[in-house]
């Protein structure tokens, strides 16, 4: 059994064209090398001017035309079913942002790797919070760009139990190659019990959960190491040099600074870091959320 319902159509069109290609590549190369020796100056001292041959030219126009029409046809028939999801498909929101995938189930369950039931069509509503991404599952032979401002979707049916890679295929900046996740295909029963189980966040600070779910940790570490943005460790009370309106200012980071930067990251940049990449979380995080985040950050020492 194939990993998804699209493997057969995609692989057939791919390997059909590759086979025809190998045939022509080998054939033309062999004939070319044969001619180079058979009609070398030594073997054929006097050349013959053959300006054209109508019969041959018709043959090598018509045959490629037929072949490419066949290639087109299987490309189209393998692709067409991807355009329309079945009505009974289970809908999941797939959210891409720099540089993390998040999956949100209809009941609100939010996870960073996808789990789907076996043999059930799944429709992903693709949402980008910032720039272009592309959700690519090589084993399923599916890929769809995730475009901010567009309501795109992709769908597939997992047909084989297992865990498969999810990759970001559209370049999205510094950590593009680390924007990875997985999809696990599980039995329906296992899926049902997984869906109702709550993730083990009972011991986790609510601020940390918020940082995880909003991709904050893709850029800001908790251990002082450098990533895309400054680390959260020892953040409050730290001396930083910021760049505001083209001028450098030395500031001490306080609670209000963090609130301002979460709500409007573009007001200033931090010296030594690329600015302009972070999006505003004003409409995403409530004041209470931000308080929780700051409370958690202040424990990172």
């Amino acid at each position: 059994m194939n990993a998804s319902n699209f493997v057969e159509g995609v692989d057939f069109s791919m390997y059909l064209i590759l086979s025809i290609s190998v045939f022509f590549l080998v054939g033309i190369t062999v004939v070319m090398i044969y001619f180079l020796f058979r009609y070398s100056k030594k073997n054929n001292p006097v050349a013959t001017n053959i300006p054209h041959n109508t019969y041959l030219e018709i043959v090598w126009t018509v045959i490629p035309t037929i072949l490419v029409l066949i290639m087109f046809w299987y490309g189209w028939t393998g692709y067409r079913p991807m355009l329309t999801a079945p009505d009974d498909a289970m809908e999941i929101d797939a959210i891409g942002q720099m540089w993390k995938w998040t999956f949100k189930y209809p009941d609100g369950k939010t996870v960073d790797s996808l789990v789907i039931p076996l043999d059930k069509p799944v429709k992903l509503n693709l949402i980008s919070k910032d720039v272009l991404h592309s959700l690519f599952i090589p084993a399923f032979r599916v890929k769809q760009d995730v475009v901010p401002g567009k309501d795109y979707m992709m769908w597939f049916t997992g047909q084989k139990l297992g865990t498969y890679d999810i990759l970001c295929a559209e370049y999205c900046g510094q950590l593009h190659s680390y924007m990875l996740s997985t999809v696990s295909v599980v039995e329906q029963d296992d899926f049902d019990s997984w869906l109702v189980s709550s993730p083990d966040t009972s011991n986790e600070h609510v601020g940390l959960t918020l940082l995880k779910n909003n991709a904050c940790l893709s850029c800001h570490t908790r251990d002082g190491s450098r990533l895309v943005g400054p680390s959260f460790k020892d953040l409050i009370g730290r001396n930083e040099t910021i760049i505001k309106d083209g001028e450098k200012l030395d500031i001490v980071v306080d609670k209000q600074y963090i609130i301002n930067k979460i709500k409007n990251p573009k007001i200033s940049g931090v010296d030594g870091y690329q600015s302009g990449l972070m999006t505003s979380y004003e409409d995403i995080l409530s004041d209470e959320d931000i308080d929780n985040i700051i409370e958690y950050i202040s424990t990172l020492k």
Partner: protein, 539 residues
Amino acid sequence: MTDSSMSQPSYLNIKKGLFSWIFTLDHKRIGLLYLYSVGAFFLVGAALGVLMRLELLNPGGDLIEAQTYNQVFTLHGVIMIFLFIIPSIPAVFGNFFLPIMLGTDDVAFPRLNLMSWWLYVIGALFALSTLVFGDGPADTGWTFYAPYSVKTGTNVSMSVLAAFILGFSSILTGLNFIVTIHRLRAPGMGFNQMPLFSWALYATSWIQLLATPIIGITLLMIVAERMLGIGLFDPSIGGDPILYQHLFWIYSHPAVYIMALPAMGIVSEIIPTFAQRTIFGYKAIAYSSMAIAFVGYFVWGHHMFTSGMSGPAAYIFSILTFFVAIPTSIKVFNWLATMYKGSISIEVPLLYAVGFIFNFLIGGLTGLVNGALAADVHLHDTYFVVGHFHYVMFGGTGFAFFGALHYWFPKIWGKMYNKLVANVAFAIIFIGFNTLYFPMLILGIMGMPRRYYDYLPEFHSLNQISTYGSWILVSGLLLMIYNLIRGYFNGTKTTDNPWNGITLEWQTKSPPPLHNFDKAPELVKGGPYNYPNAIDGSH
């Protein structure tokens, strides 16, 4: 020089000094100015490519940082596309040989021609200035896709302005060639008596003239978006990122034919000369260049099959893409048929032409896989596309460029390089090239996305092979360049026509005089490739 006292001095000797070169109006000297400039940028681009391959030798970031890597592949792309491959064959060999092959003394607008080169230099300076000014070179990829190109803090504005200026250089060269071909052909030379290289340049020039303005305005829109926040492409201020992709590819797909068609023209020159017989299917080759240029305008959507395209748009773009394959395959069969019953000398330029056909076949055939909708969903934005593109551009156009360099070297400088070393260099380049790029095709089928700084462990061994290939390729390139430079300084003097060619450039001296011909060239009766010593097979 051994010139008789009756004739003019060669274009190389008529004046000396730097200013006699950088302000020259002679199309041959402008061609060489381009050769040295695009050659220098090719080496820079290649060095950046080797750096990327080194980083990818092993998984994990071990050589440069992710951000640096992203800037490196962007700069590699910008340099190779805008500073090397688009100007390469037209601006170097087109400038040098188009007027000579048409039997005239210069292009139609020599001053405009010089201005093209200066615009090229200014554009190049803009591109390089991002290394020094602003917040570093762009990290967007050479495609400058919005909205990332609008958001990133790197110096995107300067990079796209560079491409904008380089666009004008390209437009002016195209304009110049179109007028030259229409107005300055030797008396008696109809369009169907032109060498096929001129036909290829003619088709290319129309694309340069008509398509380049679109990328120009699109790139200005990126600058406006970044500086004024107009809301053209960035959805957070009301724009549409897909609009950018359409505008970008409306130019950049035809631009692929700006890069490929002149290479096909070169191969159409080299093969008849070394087979010593007429080209098979002259009109088919000439008109298929025009057909490719024309159809090439209508296929840009195949870069966007996963960008959320409607079903009808997808299949129309797919089927039109497949139509490009037909004139392309006709050309390949014609080249093959030109070898049939030839009297073939296997010299270095012919080896590059044969290498071109092999690599270009792989490039073209893998293009068919990408043109098929279902297969493209899997392969789009993977290393398969990177491999495909390099097979067409480097294995195709790059090889044709090297072939042209070896073919016309004795005409340009009147000297000959060491042929044995040139053969060895070709073999190393051919092996290195295929070792470097073939694994990418397999990596793509396995699902490795492009523009990846780091990769999953299952992609390791093929990435290693690819990196080893880059070392082989580079040693071949260095040997080739060393051999050519040595030929330039110490090469043996050649005759005016070392390959026994019959297109008009072989009737004049090597190197040619300032005005190209001491006496008016004689057109070959029965078409430009009608070899007088071959048996007539036209029955």
